[in-house]
Subunit: 154 residues, 2 copies
């Protein structure tokens, strides 16, 4: 979609959009950064929840639901290619996710041997799973992984 059309749909002047976002890439980076920051805030808000395992699972569900529909967001979770603000937002999200994981593990609701980098790789795999599932079957990959994350290894 050309920037002029985006401006029209947003109900602002084309000049305004071009001034703030000289390229479409800069607009996408700003949108992705904003989503990452919102997800980080959401994770931080859940860090004080009474049931840490439920808070962890709820956040994993929100994160994968967003990333499933948003290729740019999925790619940006590692903080690459979205500028300094984007990288800072991705780092804040990673830190908040790490806190949710640690609290859930401390409470006994999530397998204790999982590290934050493990979780990142597992979530990237879940997004790949969900994209590969037949139409109408979305969600079962995430359900299987959440069941696995909340099972204690023998």
């Amino acid at each position: 979609m050309p920037l002029d059309v985006i401006a029209q749909r947003a109900g602002v002047g084309a000049g305004t959009v071009h001034r703030h976002f000289p390229t479409k890439e800069s607009l996408i980076a700003a949108v992705v950064t904003s989503r990452l920051a919102r997800l980080a805030e959401r994770a931080e808000g859940l860090a004080g929840a009474a049931d840490p395992a439920a808070a962890f699972v709820a956040f994993i569900r929100e994160l994968t639901a967003e990333a499933r529909h948003n290729v740019a967001l999925a790619g940006a979770l590692g903080g690459a290619g979205i500028g300094a603000d984007g990288a800072a937002a991705a780092a804040a999200l990673a830190a908040a996710l790490g806190l949710l994981l640690a609290r859930a593990q401390h409470g006994g609701g999530v397998r204790p041997d999982l590290t934050v980098p493990d979780l990142h790789a597992i979530l990237a795999g879940v997004i790949a799973m969900e994209r590969g599932l037949p139409a109408g079957r979305q969600g079962i990959g995430l359900d299987v992984v959440i069941d696995g994350l909340t099972t204690h290894p023998a």
Copy 2:
């Protein structure tokens, strides 16, 4: 690696290799087809096991271990790009995997709502997980997913 070097390492004449495999792609397709056929045989052999859930899990472990180290094999599991023999071997493997799944579900050891296409997407996601895990952490993605597959949904 050039075909001549492959021939030398295999201890056969370069002419023999070139006669059977005019291109490197044809050699790779033959190797992948052979692996797929061996995996299908292995799955068929496990279909009569006394503990169907254990047989299913053992086979998932073997399959992902092979595919993790073999990009060509991972890509060929759907039967694409490896010719008619390869596609037939991939189909035989998919059928044998479906039988292992059905037996494990019937025995109550694997979640009952999982379909064969679901399982294919989930296994592709596991391979993505395992490739994304930090060095020394391989296996935890597979462990999490196996725990999830063998957990009954609430």
